[in-house]
């Protein structure tokens, strides 16, 4: 168990959550809650793996994963925006749909070896003492793409005109509409972008960070954790990234706890009674709940809420 390994592992697995959570933030800022992240991720993971296997190119696989997540999200967009269906139920069905589709189309992929997106070292930055070795050396290329996505998405949401329109649509769609912003168009766009990022997150699992296709164990609930992360992050990409990395580190830490015979000078219970590991496996989920309690409390204190129109269908000419 070393700090360096935990940090680096957190950066890698955190990247998966980061992609999915930032995607969901963009979708929710437009007023659409998409609970189908898990399904979109799984479909993305399958599509990426299958395409990489068939074409021999991991990058084509990555594109396929992104496209698969995006396409699936359009079903949610259509049903919630045009048909004004309940977003929670639609998101849940999207999870079923994505999971089912991924399992059907992913038959026989288990145990195969697809070409993977490789690790890379950033030339100059990796020379920085200690930090360079941790943050910029021999990590997956997607981790670096994650680094770039954090400031870009923050800047886009808070400092650009389209970002302003995005938030307007999520806060007060009627006002945005009266200013000539195409509310339906914006909602479709960001639901799609969110789906693409969820697909990317899935692809990041299957062909990059923990490669392979293990049917629905490939994502093993990370899509749900990403949704929780959005609330914890209070719709801020910077906080989402931090949360994602922290979560990744905690996961690794739980894993490392099982190894040594002595823990802080005491007999390590997890080493001697392997069944106690089940309690360690619970921890990410318990911690998510605790983070949510904490997140909702601080959101209430700071009066940060969800986008005001989140979950409410917009119909031109109706009150609201």
């Amino acid at each position: 168990m070393s700090l360096e390994i935990i940090l680096r592992s957190g950066l890698s697995t955190g990247t998966i959550l980061l992609f999915a959570a930032i995607g969901e933030i963009l979708t929710e800022l437009a007023g659409i809650q998409n609970l189908g992240v898990e399904g979109m991720m799984l479909l993305g993971a399958m599509a990426a793996f299958k395409t990489a296997l068939a074409t021999g190119s991991p990058w084509l696989g990555l594109l396929a994963g992104i496209a698969a997540g995006g396409l699936l999200s359009l079903a949610h967009a259509l049903v919630t925006i045009h048909f004004q269906a309940d977003q929670v139920v639609s998101g849940l069905s999207l999870t079923f749909l994505g999971t089912g589709l991924a399992l059907v189309l992913g038959e026989g992929l288990t145990g195969q070896n697809a070409p993977l997106i490789t690790n890379a070292t950033i030339p100059l930055l990796s020379k920085i003492p200690w930090l360079g070795r941790i943050f910029f050396a021999d990590l997956n290329i997607l981790v670096y793409i994650g680094y770039l996505l954090i400031p870009i998405s923050w800047w886009y949401i808070n400092k650009t005109r389209p970002g302003m329109h995005l938030r307007a649509v999520g806060e007060k769609p009627a006002a945005a509409d009266s200013l000539g912003i195409n509310v339906y168009g914006v909602r479709y766009l960001y639901t799609f972008v969110g789906g693409c990022l969820a697909g990317l997150a899935g692809a990041a699992i299957s062909i990059a960070i923990s490669p392979g296709w293990y049917s629905n164990l490939t994502t093993s609930g990370q899509g749900w954790i990403a949704v929780a992360l959005v609330i914890f992050a209070q719709w801020n990409p910077l906080r989402a990234a931090l949360g994602g990395y922290l979560f990744g580190m905690l996961r690794r830490f739980m894993l490392d706890l099982q190894g040594p015979m002595l823990l802080f000078g005491l007999r390590n219970p997890f080493f001697y009674n392997h069944n106690l590991v089940f309690f360690l496996q619970m921890m990410p989920f318990v911690l998510t709940i605790i983070a949510l309690v904490w997140g909702s409390a601080s959101a209430r204190r700071l009066r940060i809420g969800a986008p005001a129109a989140l979950g409410i269908p917009y119909v031109r000419g109706e009150r609201g």
Partner: protein, 369 residues
Amino acid sequence: MSLPYHLRIQKRTEEVPRWLPLATSVGAIVLAFLISALILQLIGGNPIKTFGYFFNAAFGSWGALSDVVVKATPLLLIGLGCGLAFRMRLWNIGAEGQFYIGAFFASLVPLVPLVDMETTPKFVILLMMALLGMLGGGLYGFIPGWLKAKFNVSEIISTLMLNYVAVFFNNYWIYSEFSDAGFQMTPVFAKSAWLPRLADYAREVKAFSGITLHLGVVFGLIAAFIIWIIMTRSRWGYEINLIGDNPQAARYAGINITRNVILVFMLSGALAGLAGMSEVSGVVHRLQERISTNYGFSGVIVAWLAKLNPFATILVSFLFGALIVAGREIQPSGLYFFIQGTILFLVISSDVLLRYKFELFRTAPEAAK
């Protein structure tokens, strides 16, 4: 406009015709099967053969039919619980976890054992198991209800997370304390902890031999009736409906929303817990991994498809029981999820037909110019 016909979409102002909700639900199910058939065809399967097999596996014999009802039982109980919570716009997605905890609590009776399994009357043992199952599920439902009411924590996320926690919790016990000689399951319960099955009466009635139908289905039917009474005939049901329709008005009317959120969550969990008890006591007869084939999530769909109506829940859970029984047999295994997801999607999409009126008009000759 030069088209000879045009479509006019209008918000419905009058009552929805009584037959329409049923028609849209049935239409959605039929369409979902057609789409699944198309997908099967596209990936190189034979949809007609598969669905023929499907039908046979579910309805081909008395034994198969009884299997369907056995699978429908937990779905019915869970669907009722979810429907109750959804009526208040509480998204209990945690029936899966409540099911596992209910099964665990109920299993304590024969495993610890809490009473002497030889001398205590079977009736008492089964009653204890049912009550403990409900208690376990209810307590597990209390957590998200309390977190929602006190800290405004999204119940969707908390219930989902608790599902994973429950599975690991269960695993701990079946791998360690209650493990049967190191296997990942507990020993088989004493016979006195088994819910009576029709097969038990095979000596008296020949036709019952091998029929696995057990008493749990009666729990489900009684629960459906009780929920119906609560929702339509009681003051509490009125409060639940009011909170669901208009929480603001409910608050002004002096209804205690916090208390109702927690209570409804607990009742919803208790029903899922009872489903867990019925499954371990009526079917599996031991505690083990994967006692649920996604009942918790299918229950969500069942509730929604039944439009939260307790009696419709009975019918829909029967259909989904058939889907599970047949789904075990067919490949690829993911098809079952896919059909479920498609049905749910189409049902919620079809709701637009209830809210809007779509009318086709012949364009007037003047306008056609």
